[in-house]
């Protein structure tokens, strides 16, 4: 049954082929699938494709790991302690209210166009979804369970790992999902503005050179990479469900 998911992409491919070869669109507007494939092979021969894909993936993974780890820690501090919530909650909320792409010019100014500015931007993008979901979910952990655990002398970090963390695990995972999508979004934004490599650079570069075939190639690659990394989160999610899920073990 899972194979049915392939039907729609195949139909799109056929429609794309027909639209591009029957002259509905000009080749500049919409090159045929074979042209796009050829552009991919050409870039591969010149060893540029892997460079673009590699550097983009590296930026996303680094930024995602840093941003979501910070989101988890700071989200836990805000969600668990009333004092940190009162002290830092409004400030973080205000920073969050800034449309995140507004940081791009400042990053370029402060950190320059190097790798660091891109990884930092991706990390900012990944931070907030994790932070928000973790802080919110921790506030809503069943007080009855916490009290019961406390009545058995469980407190502090042991209370966190025994009751609170497992209870918010589903939220953590959905936060990570959102964070990953945000990470790719921010990557492209960062690479559009200032980069000499990466898929975002490939997009702008192709646009200015009129290479629509490469442009479409970059979009397809982003879709594939996004899907693969999301599938990795899916594997992690299933692991947490087996470990901490409330559903029967055989699901």
């Amino acid at each position: 049954m899972a194979g049915l998911g392939v039907v729609l992409p195949l139909l799109v491919l056929v429609a794309w082929h027909l639209l591009s070869t029957t002259g509905v669109f000009t080749p500049i507007q919409l090159p045929s699938p074979s042209k796009v494939a050829a552009a991919g092979i050409e870039l591969m021969r010149r060893h540029e494709l892997w460079q673009h894909v590699g550097i983009s993936t590296q930026r996303v993974i680094l930024g995602f790991v840093i941003g979501s780890a910070l989101g988890l820690v700071i989200g836990a501090l805000i969600g668990l302690s009333r004092w940190t919530r009162i002290l830092a909650g409004p400030t973080i909320g205000a920073i969050r209210a800034v449309p995140s792409l507004a940081w791009v010019p400042l990053m370029l100014l402060w950190v320059g166009v190097g790798e660091n500015s891109k990884v930092i931007l991706v990390a900012i993008g990944a931070f907030f979804p994790v932070y928000t979901t973790v802080a919110g979910a921790l506030k809503h952990v069943d007080h009855h369970l916490i009290e019961a655990a406390r009545s058995f002398g469980i407190h502090g970090i042991r209370l966190f790992t025994t009751v609170q963390l497992p209870a918010v695990m589903p939220s953590v995972v959905s936060g990570l999902r959102l964070a990953l999508a945000q990470a790719w979004l921010f990557l492209v934004a960062a690479e559009l503005v200032g980069a000499s490599m990466g898929l975002g650079f490939l997009l702008t570069d192709s646009q200015s050179n009129g290479r629509t075939d490469r442009l479409i190639l970059a979009i397809i690659l982003l879709a594939i990479l996004g899907k693969i990394t999301d599938a990795l989160i899916g594997i992690f999610e299933r692991w947490t469900q087996r470990r901490w899920g409330t559903a029967p073990a055989a699901s």
């Binding site: 369970l145 406390r150 009545s151 058995f152 002398g153 497992p166 899920g245 409330t246 029967p248």
Partner: protein
């Protein structure tokens, strides 16, 4: 308040059973300073639970029954008076107590076994802990479900697991806050018998808060009846009824029936209407 039994002869060997003493316990809510509104719900409650006794606390909703129990566990504090276990006051979460709540409050992602193990005292060696948990699960009749998660068993089974978790703590005082209140009538009767069974094998001191007058009379040595002298006034002890009948008791016992009428009368239920 409580009758002075002579527990020494039977309990001399089992030192791990404690007495609980409530001394002029009161509870108020709200701000105390600068004329803020302060509501007193409970006042001047004094009674003693002797080692190994089962004492039930009954009374109308909101009269502070649970406050007494929670103050004993260290989950809550009395605003006046003191609660002492074997003479030493309760300050924080007390390691001598274990609590059974109205809801099972099991961690839904852990198996029954792992939930019961949560009750074990902190420094229990792993192998001894495993053995004890298996014993307790056997004792409450959950061995076939030991590896199931709480969501996969019935409410009665979950409540039995919660009872086993409380017993895993090896408590000197077992505190039960309407433990069978959410169960269906038949399961409730079975749970009461299970509790008596466990108590016969290991006579821990039990303090039981309940809504159920029959339950209180069937299980306990004393029934503490809380009530308000007048509407709006803080509640206090209306009567301390001694149930001096050997266990196991018959639920149809005529003495129990008479006490039941009296108790319901104290709680404001007219039993002569039909």
């Amino acid at each position: 308040m409580s009758s002075a039994r002579a527990p020494e002869d039977t309990r001399a060997l089992e030192a791990e059973v404690a007495s609980v003493r409530f001394h002029d316990v009161g509870k108020s809510f709200g701000t105390s300073s600068r004329g803020g509104t302060r509501t007193q719900v409970l006042r001047d409650v004094s009674f003693t639970v002797q080692p190994g006794e089962i004492v039930a606390v009954v009374g109308p909703s909101g009269c502070g029954k649970s406050t007494l129990l929670r103050a004993t566990a260290g989950l809550d504090t009395a605003t006046e008076g003191s609660v002492t276990i074997d003479g030493s006051p309760v300050r924080d979460i007390d390691p001598r107590c274990a609590v059974g709540f109205q809801e099972p409050r099991l961690l839904p992602w852990r198996s029954i076994t792992d939930n019961v193990a949560l009750g074990l005292p902190r420094k229990t060696p792993a192998s001894r802990g495993r053995k004890r948990v298996a014993e307790l699960i056997e004792l409450v009749g959950l061995t076939p479900h030991a590896n199931h998660r709480p969501g996969e068993v019935s409410g009665g089974m979950a409540q039995r697991a919660a009872l086993a978790r409380a017993l895993a703590r090896n408590p000197q005082v077992l505190l039960l806050d309407e433990p069978f209140g959410a169960l269906d009538a038949l399961t409730r009767l079975k749970m009461q018998d299970l509790l008596l069974d466990l108590h016969r094998q290991d006579p821990t001191t039990v303090l039981l808060v309940t809504h159920d007058v029959d339950e209180a009379l069937y299980l306990s040595d004393h029934v503490i009846v809380l009530g308000r002298p007048a509407p709006g006034e803080p509640a206090g002890i209306v009567e301390n009824i001694e149930v001096d009948l050997p266990r196991p008791r018959s639920r149809e016992d005529s003495d129990l029936a008479r006490m039941r009428g009296h108790l319901l009368g104290l709680l404001g239920v007219d039993t002569t209407a039909h």
